[in-house]
Symmetry: C2
Subunit: 427 residues, 2 copies
């Protein structure tokens, strides 16, 4: 019987739709990759009755309850007090936490605001989870037995601060080890995510499902997760033969999907491309029209991109295409700005002007306006200029504007990645 885990997110800003609940995705994903599944997630406003009621219900169902938010110093941070009251625990000042709070402000040369010290209040019997990135510590309480739970089973309750950069490391470094110790998985758990691009989910399924069937019969769990332009194949195996089962499954998936596989686990296409270029000591230039800087922004999201990315031009106007990239006026007049010929000249111009090994150029019609019968909204030309050749792709990406940019960017990065991988294999 696997552990029942529930997540409760407190915050009126969630209920008003002011913010996205990024905690849910982050914590659920981290738990899933560690072999645990979240049975239920609940979000409630910062009101006493709602918080206590929801926590009471969850403690009655779950082995491990995680509550986020409401541990700060202001008047709407009430989680600590409400949960102590619910559990009938007194609060005391934790000397070590108070010392850390004083040190936090001393190091920054700021006086400690009077309300801050409330964060050193700890319910009796609670473990303090150190906050290495902010002031409010987390708390973990073993409740044994929980009076509202049938069978007198014990439950753990972990409280985490709301800011993501405080919550995330606290969860992986302190809560997950606690969970593993208190509610260990039964036997080995292996989760392998194979990241692919350039093939739809149904085609992938066609290529691998039959071949994986004997392994599925032997206990392999197979799942797909489609993002825009990417499909993850998720392989899960449990028990004594898990490592071997997962390795066999991965080998089969890699063999069947070939170079559509660009990475594993959390690998991102932009990071993979930067890594390949770094390994080869080669450089990249970009010339973007319809993606408007999306690709440059994606590449420069990767720390260390400056070693391989020389620069890019965002050439929205025809004049910019001529001035910055040397596209010929005749080409624009004859073929139009959205054409294979223009994409080719943009890529070759960017490569030459920046002295890069590779240049990617993108020109197309993002929409909503600007389409024509011959070149409908979504028409794109993606060119890759290398020392030897210039390749041009011509997909039609009919999506809303942000999705159009993202999918086109992924196609461009994938064109470059394949070229780098094939060149490597040809070395």
């Amino acid at each position: 019987m696997s552990a029942i885990i529930e997540l409760i997110n407190t915050g009126s800003e969630l209920m008003l739709g002011f913010v996205l609940n990024t905690h849910q995705q982050c914590l659920c994903r981290t738990l899933a990759d560690a072999g645990y599944t979240t049975a239920r997630q609940t979000a409630v406003p910062d009101t006493a009755a709602d918080i206590q009621q929801t926590v009471r219900e969850a403690l009655g169902r779950a082995d491990f309850v995680i509550v986020t938010g409401g541990l700060g110093p202001t008047s709407d941070d009430m989680t600590r007090d409400l949960i102590a009251e619910l559990l009938g625990r007194k609060l005391h000042t934790d000397a070590e936490t108070l010392r850390r709070l004083e040190q936090f402000f001393a190091e920054r040369g700021r006086p400690m605001p009077p309300l801050t010290s409330v964060q050193a209040q700890v319910p009796d019997g609670a473990l303090v989870l150190t906050n290495h990135h902010g002031t409010a510590p987390g708390l973990a309480i073993e409740i044994s037995p929980y009076p509202f739970r049938s069978g007198g089973k014990k439950t753990w309750l972990a409280m985490l601060p709301g800011p993501p950069r405080e919550l995330r490391p606290m969860f992986t470094e302190q809560v997950l080890p606690l969970l593993r110790k208190e509610l260990p998985l039964e036997g080995v758990f292996v989760c392998r995510t194979i990241r692919t691009t350039g093939m739809g989910e149904s085609i992938i399924e066609e290529k691998i499902a039959a071949g994986l069937q004997p392994l599925i019969t032997a206990g392999l769990e197979l799942g797909y997760c489609a993002h825009y332009g990417e499909v993850d194949v998720r392989l899960v195996a449990r028990g004594p033969g898990a490592q071997k089962l997962a390795a066999e499954a991965e080998a089969l998936v890699r063999e069947r999907l070939g170079s559509h596989v660009f990475g594993v686990q959390d690998d991102q296409l932009n990071a993979v491309v930067v890594r390949l270029l770094t390994e080869r000591k080669e450089t990249l230039a970009l010339a973007e029209s319809c993606t408007g800087g999306y690709v440059a922004n994606s590449v420069t999201d990767v720390p260390g991109a400056s070693a391989v990315f020389l620069g890019g031009m965002v050439t929205y106007s025809n004049e910019a295409k001529q001035r910055l990239l040397g596209v010929r006026p005749e080409t624009l007049a004859e073929h139009g700005a959205v054409s294979e010929a223009t994409a080719r000249e943009m890529a070759e111009g960017a490569r030459a002007r920046l002295g890069a090994d590779y240049a990617i150029a993108i020109t197309g019609i993002a929409g909503p306006g600007g389409g024509s019968p011959a070149k409908p909204v979504g028409t794109v030309f993606i060119a890759l200029a290398t020392a030897r050749h210039t390749f041009v792709l011509n997909p039609v990406n009919r999506y809303d504007r942000p999705t159009f940019k993202h999918i086109t960017c992924q196609q461009a990065l994938e064109l470059l990645r394949r070229n780098l991988v094939n060149a490597q294999q040809g070395d």
Copy 2:
């Protein structure tokens, strides 16, 4: 007594952390702007017991329950059947829905897959919510009285398809009007969001809270919502004098915060800047180093940006700064790439080379590497070149890499916006 609304999101992909729950933010925000608040949101996996249990609990508490997901044609789309079973309603084929499904595929010249027709199954007594953007219709059921609810009160249950582009219009066009008809707000409701930038939440509070106190006493609800680099002031008023109360509050906020106010409701800084430039028939060029295309991408996210945005250069390397922007080697040697002098030459170079009315240039240290004692990680120079002057800002933005890019972009757009607004006032 205001209506109690609950939201239930079904989907194992949520519980595995594969996707963000964007439905929650979108639906909660739309409800809040219409005067309704969501009392609780719950996410559960696609399993029969979880879905039925969660819906049963919510129906026992709420006046209006919204369930998302699980209405499609595949084997894990079970919401329709499970809820019909829970409510003891038979399913019948809805002729009009079946006709629409057949038409959907006929218009696309594709045969209708056999499983599709399950989407025309409707629980007895349910309203069908037409899906104008996909196949699975939504459903709304009045349950009167709900047997598990105390006092025999009636409850509404709405079921919506999972894909956002199907769910969102169905919610605003069909569910919200139903909610307004069945559970009308008591009296007038006015919600006004004033969007500001360049001032922290506590400073804004200092400037407006005391002045708004008499209006708060008269019933105004005041809230703040801080995003990175922006703070929303949310003014809510209800009842007979609501319009006047909100108008007086808005006037006071605008007077006290002056040009820090860049918009209302859903206005975005990038769209405001594009609108101002469009009105003035003026053009923009960009030169980005550390933001790596983020600003260009933000500007080109605005439909119609091509009318005012000529182009941008992403100049990561010193060589690119020289070749593309004409930054002098002496300037780079003497002051470094991250300096006021370089930012100034980048902006002036971009403006001249693209023939734009305005150019923004950004150079800085995004981190995590690259800092020094004199120029720590987070150091940024933002230059705005106009026909008359070049202005340079020098903030220190110590954040993680994605936040650094976003905040720096907002500061740059705000520098331009203020210049445009001031120029307008000086006309």
